[in-house]
């Protein structure tokens, strides 16, 4: 063999030597009718892995488009084998500038924006925002409005926790959880659509009360819903609570004790799973919550399993509150009397969606010139809010949802800042998952149940 024969080898790295010319490096072979068959044997996988485990650090990008990261969340995992050594969350993929946009709209229009942040708990957002505006104005919604708000909030909480089970289950491979969870959530959305006109992004809670009163048959509709849920909720216990796979995936995973929760600002079911019965509906009751009998489930396990059990129990408690609301409700106004604040609306559905009903428009147009001018001013200019700032927290399904509103006396907010529970709780991901397996990262995210629309705002 001359040097020129091997030329291609030197330039391209391919072996151009004739077949069998140098058979020393080949594995044992035998001739068959199909051709030559090589029998290849190699090293043991354990040797390969033990070499790799300590020398090879892997950095893996999980997301932002990944079916198991609960939305457009990106996790940067540093791993050794299947063990996560470091985890960093990267967010901002769904940032829409809602806080900035609110500064260019009237106080009432702000509701339409904030309801789109945490899209699984739109009514909690509306509630926090409206309570904050009402605190700035120094007004209080009428009793019927407060009770109906509680009703809507609790229905929304049930819907949100159902999505937690649905998506969390799907991420862990339990697709039946998804079909079941979304089936029941559909019941909630149907009911909310019947009550508020929209399935999501309701903008139904307004500063001063509600957009309008409930439909006539709402009592029956809610009772019927409670009956359905009473039958369906035990299914979750049947399917998941006793199920060994579900239990083994969640038990002892995503551990976060109470001191870590407080240091990281984690609230909601995650904090309650660590044993602290901190529920703003109990400790700082708003909107008549102090009149209701309900329990705050807690656990001492501080793991994903405890969070699952707590959320299921919270759904039962929410149903309990809904039933009590129905008993307490009495006829009355659902908006403050002050016509300088109360938005004059009577909604109905027409060809291009929901809006003021024609009859109502006719009434406004036909009443008097002054009331027409007043209506026009209120809708285009909005109401003035005395200067100052407030911070109002409410208990959303994910934890403390706080609204820090600043007014400079105008008809638009000077600043709307939202303390989003998903945003804050997501900070605990490294504490929950570093040192664990990559499969447990999924369980940990699911147990926080972040909504990226709220995280990024």
């Amino acid at each position: 063999m001359t040097t020129s024969d091997r030329l291609a080898d030197a330039t391209t790295g391919t072996d151009t030597t004739p077949e069998g010319a140098d058979s020393v490096g080949y594995a044992a072979h035998r001739e068959t009718t199909e051709g030559r068959v090589y029998t290849v044997s190699g090293g043991d996988w354990d040797d390969v892995l033990s070499d790799a485990a300590h020398d090879e650090r892997m950095v893996i990008n999980m997301g932002p488009q990944h079916p198991s990261t609960h939305g457009v969340l990106r996790l940067v995992l540093e791993m050794e084998g299947e063990t996560v050594t470091q985890l960093r969350s990267v967010i901002g993929y769904l940032h829409t500038g809602i806080e900035k946009n609110c500064e260019y709209r009237t106080w009432t229009q702000g509701v339409t924006f904030v309801t789109r942040m945490d899209y699984l708990a739109p009514l909690s957002n509306e509630m926090g925002y409206c309570l904050a505006v009402e605190k700035l104005l120094g007004i209080e919604a009428p009793r019927r409005a407060q009770l109906l708000r509680v009703l809507l909030l609790e229905l929304n909480r049930i819907g949100s926790h159902l999505v937690y089970i649905a998506t969390g289950g799907m991420e862990l491979g339990a697709t039946t959880a998804m079909t079941l969870g979304f089936r029941e959530r559909e019941e909630v959305l149907h009911l909310l659509e019947h009550l508020t006109g929209l399935r999501m992004n309701h903008a139904f809670i307004r500063p001063g009360g509600l957009a309008q009163d409930m439909p006539e048959d709402f009592h029956e509709a809610v009772t019927e819903f409670c009956k359905v849920m009473d039958e369906r909720l035990p299914l979750y216990d049947k399917l998941f609570t006793g199920q060994p796979i579900w239990r083994n995936r969640l038990k002892g995973v995503g551990y976060l004790p109470v001191d870590a929760c407080l240091a990281l600002g984690v609230t909601g079911p995650v904090l309650r799973s660590a044993g602290l019965p901190w529920d703003l509906r109990k400790v700082e009751p708003y909107s008549c919550y102090d009149e209701f009998e309900f329990d705050v489930p807690t656990s001492n396990d501080a793991d994903c399993w405890a969070r699952y059990l707590i959320r299921v129990e919270e759904m039962h408690q929410s149903l309990r509150i809904v039933r009590q609301v129905l008993k307490k409700l009495e006829p009355g106004p659902v908006m403050v009397e002050d016509k300088k604040i109360a938005w004059p609306a009577q909604l109905s559905i027409s060809s291009d969606g929901m809006g003021n009903s024609l009859e109502h428009v006719r009434k406004i147009m036909g009443q008097s010139m002054e009331s027409l001018i007043h209506h026009f001013k209120l809708v285009t200019e909005g109401f003035h809010v005395p200067p100052g700032q407030v911070y109002v927290p409410v208990e959303s399904p994910r934890g403390e949802l706080g609204y820090h509103l600043v007014s400079d006396g105008g008809t638009r907010p000077l600043r709307v800042h939202v303390r989003e529970p998903s945003f804050v709780n997501l900070q605990s991901m490294p504490a929950m998952s570093e040192g664990g397996l990559v499969a447990d990262v999924i369980a940990a995210i699911a147990s926080i149940d972040p909504v990226m629309g709220g995280v990024d705002r």
Binding site: G92, K100, G265, Y391, V406, D456
Partner: protein
């Protein structure tokens, strides 16, 4: 810069937790909070309907409204605020923090706000968290506020602290010049402030000194400017609806 009073206070060195007054009295050696330079929280207004110059036919062109300034509160503050303030000032004295670190106290709408000097912010937070009579375990939120281009010390860094033990909420506020937007980071005291401070840096350009990794969090890393400042445009585009063109929200008439 935050104006720091000339004369150094006589902090009560002999002050200890055991000597705290029973009720209502200021602890010895610690001055009650007094207003520094008034905090401005709003802009001046003139006219009405957002019209100025010769186009103003409304007759309101001469209307002048001064900028809002949160009034300093005077004792008694009412409710639990007085008990809390006694504890707070005593704890400050215990930890060697001068009473001048509190520039102003405002009580408004049932919420108490302490305007604090930024150089003492971390020590104040640590005191609030650790002192047995205060116990603010949870930092609910850190946010920025920009009060507008013409306002002196327009940037505010606002901290909402929660005491789960006593079920109290307070607000700390640091006012900043836009040319010198530096605040010490409280991540050491409240790890939860990590992302909050990153967000506030991202949106307002407030620099939290000592933060472990102060990078943008919501906007892309190479973004120019800080979007929630008042001099940063909203960037809206006109929208056509049923044949009419609706101007973008930032160019619509603002009535206030």
């Amino acid at each position: 810069m935050i104006p720091v009073p000339e004369e150094k206070p006589e902090t009560g060195a002999e002050q200890s937790s055991a000597e705290r007054p029973e009720s209502g009295l200021e602890p010895r050696g610690s001055e009650p909070a007094r207003p520094a330079e008034p905090v401005v929280a709003g802009r001046e207004r003139k006219g009405m309907f957002g019209v100025s110059g010769t186009g103003d036919t409304s007759g309101y062109g001469g209307l002048r409204l001064p900028a809002y300034s949160p009034p300093p509160a005077e004792r008694p503050y009412g409710g639990w605020f007085d008990d809390f303030a006694d504890e707070f000032y005593a704890a400050l004295a215990d930890n060697g923090i001068p009473a001048e670190a509190i520039l102003q106290v405002t009580v408004d709408r049932g919420e108490i706000t302490f305007y604090v000097a930024r150089e003492h912010l971390v020590a104040i937070c640590r005191t609030l968290r650790d002192d047995a009579g205060l116990r603010f375990e949870l930092c609910s939120s850190v946010s920025g506020v920009d009060y507008g281009v013409d306002v002196p010390q327009r940037l505010h860094s606002v901290y909402h602290l929660t005491s789960m033990t006593y079920r109290r909420r307070i607000r700390l506020e640091v006012t900043l010049d836009v040319e010198d937007p530096h605040v010490p980071s409280i991540v050491d005291v409240y790890p939860t402030a990590d992302w909050h401070e990153r967000e506030t840096y991202d949106m307002f350009g407030i620099v939290y000194d000592g933060h472990p990794a102060l990078t943008r969090i919501l906007m892309p890393d190479d973004w120019d400017g800080h979007p929630q400042r008042k001099d940063y445009p909203l960037g809206g585009i006109p929208v056509e609806y049923k044949g009419a063109e609706i101007p973008p929200p930032d160019t619509r008439r603002s009535y206030s």
